[in-house]
Every structure is written in C-alpha cells, then in structure tokens.
C-alpha cells in the first residue's frame, strides 16, 4: 500500500486540518474528507468521511457517526460512533456509541459499550505490553 506520513504541521489545510482546542492540537476531518495512509500525530484526531490505513496519536481519536474507517487506530481515549474495521488500541478508554460498528480486535484499559453498538472481535483488557508501536 502506498503510505504517506502526515506530521503535525504537514499535509492538511489549515482551516480543516488543525484546530486548537484547550491548547492541544486537533486534526479534524469533515464528512467529505478522505485520508489514506499513515498518520502519526501529536494531538487528537476527529475522523469523518473515509479513512484508510493507520492512525496513531498521543491524544484522543473520535470517529464520527457515518464515517467509514478501515484502519488501525491507537490513541488514549478512542470514541467510535461510525463504522470501523481494524484493530483498535485505547491506552485509556474505548467507547462504542450506539451507532458504532466495529470489526476488529481491541486492546483497552477501560471499555464502555452502549446499547445498540455492534462489536465483532477479540477484546483484551489490561495493561499494555508494547506491541509494534509506531512511536
């Protein structure tokens, strides 16, 4: 697969890409946006539209309702409301909202699944052995 790396300052237009919130960086996608590749980001990511590849962030990841994600996701708090296919790692908490559909293995410290969410995959809970980290 063709992999491109987007760093904090790169690749994304200012208005859409980087938003300051509480002094922390946020990478924000809209419903029409498409990201293919690998993103390693020091901040949080709001994923919408279509996302394929791999996303590893120091902050939080949230996937909007209606978004389509086929990616490996790793973040502190991960909140899913859309469709996600791929492995998910939440260093703190993973939340599956009522419209979330997740197929993939997950590793979390805390887990919340709301009624209506769909999950197919293996759940591992507990402390983290360092597994193939991209950091």
């Amino acid at each position: 697969m063709d992999v491109q790396e987007a760093t904090a300052e790169g690749a994304v237009s200012a208005e859409n890409g980087e938003v300051k919130r509480d002094g922390k960086k946020q990478f924000s996608m809209g419903p029409q946006d498409v990201l293919e590749g690998k993103l390693i980001y020091d901040g949080s990511v709001h994923a919408d539209g279509r996302l394929e590849g791999e996303v590893r962030v120091s902050g939080n990841i949230d996937v909007a309702n209606g978004a389509n994600v086929k990616a490996l996701l790793e973040g502190s708090n991960v909140t899913l409301k859309g469709n996600v296919e791929g492995m998910v790692t939440a260093r703190d908490k993973l939340t599956l909202g009522r419209n979330a559909r997740l197929s993939g293995d997950i590793q979390v410290r805390r887990l919340q699944i709301d009624d209506g969410a769909t999950l197919n995959g293996n759940v591992r809970m507990g402390d983290f052995e360092h597994q193939a980290s991209g950091q």
Binding site: R110, L111, Q112, I113, L119, N120, V123, R124, M125
Partner: protein
C-alpha cells in the same frame, strides 16, 4: 387415536415457569445473588442475572446481566442481550450475543461475536435436569438398611 381420560383422573399439571419463582406467565428468570456461586454449565430458557461468582459456561435464550460485583469466568451465550455492569467482570474465550452493553469500569475480555444467533449443540438441553429432582428420592439409601436387617430375603413388602 384419541384418548379420553375419566374425570377422576385429571392430567397432572406440567411444570410451568412459576416453579422457578417468576410471576404469572412472565419470562423465566434466574438470579444468582452476591453470595451464590456456580461452577459448571448453565442453560436457561429465559433471563439470567448474575451478581455472584460463576466459573463455567452460561447460555440463556433471553438476556444475561452480570450485575453488582458479579464475576463470570467462562463462555457466555445470550440469544438476546448481555449487560456487564460497572463493577462486574467477565473473562471469557467466547462471547456470543445479539446485543451487548458494557458499562464503564467493567472488566471484560474475550472474543465477541454479535449478530444473528445460531443455537449450538454444545450445551446439554435442560430436559434431564428438570425431571431429576423429584425422582431423586432416597433410592440409594437402602444399602445400610440391608446390613442392619441381615435377612436372606432382599426385600419384604
């Protein structure tokens, strides 16, 4: 072939769900309280609520709720919904459910399969267990009695 019973012999009522402590025609429901403990397999036609400790396989045709400080170690199959409460814990190899709710704070691990449930044959059907208790009268007891009487005839009537 039609069978007509004389009025004097009325059919014995078949056991209904009332026997299991549920009220009038509601779904069958079984509760394991905080001090209850189960080791083995359990199949329930109805709902199951676990606030105690379970080691083994659980299967219910309705909902399963692991509530309070309930702890389950073993596979869980709920034809409808599985709820794991915030202080509860479920450590499984396989979790097969139609719907799933996990509260923040819960301990949860295992392979989750969601969607249309296909009943599997792994867990024995409940038929034998239901009949068992009344039949189980002191049939095994006579052994000491025979020794005491020490008669050549096996039984006297």
């Amino acid at each position: 072939m039609s069978i007509r019973r004389p009025d004097s012999r009325r059919p014995t009522p078949t056991p209904t769900t009332e026997e299991n402590g549920t009220n009038n025609g509601q779904r069958n429901s079984v509760v394991l309280g905080p001090n209850d403990r189960l080791v083995g397999q359990l199949y329930i036609e109805g709902d199951l609520r676990v606030a105690g400790t379970v080691e083994g396989q659980l299967e219910a045709t309705g909902d399963i709720e692991i509530a309070g400080a309930g702890k389950v170690k073993g596979d869980v199959t709920a034809y409808n919904r599985l709820t794991v409460g915030g202080d509860a814990s479920l450590i499984a190899q396989e979790v097969r459910v139609a719907r799933l709710t996990v509260a923040d704070g819960a301990t949860f691990s295992g392979k989750v399969s969601m969607g249309k449930h296909v009943a599997r044959a792994a867990v024995p059907k409940p038929a034998e267990e239901r009949v068992a208790p009344p039949v189980d009268e002191p049939v095994a007891e006579p052994v000491p009695v025979v020794i005491e009487e020490a008669k050549p005839k096996a039984k006297r009537r």
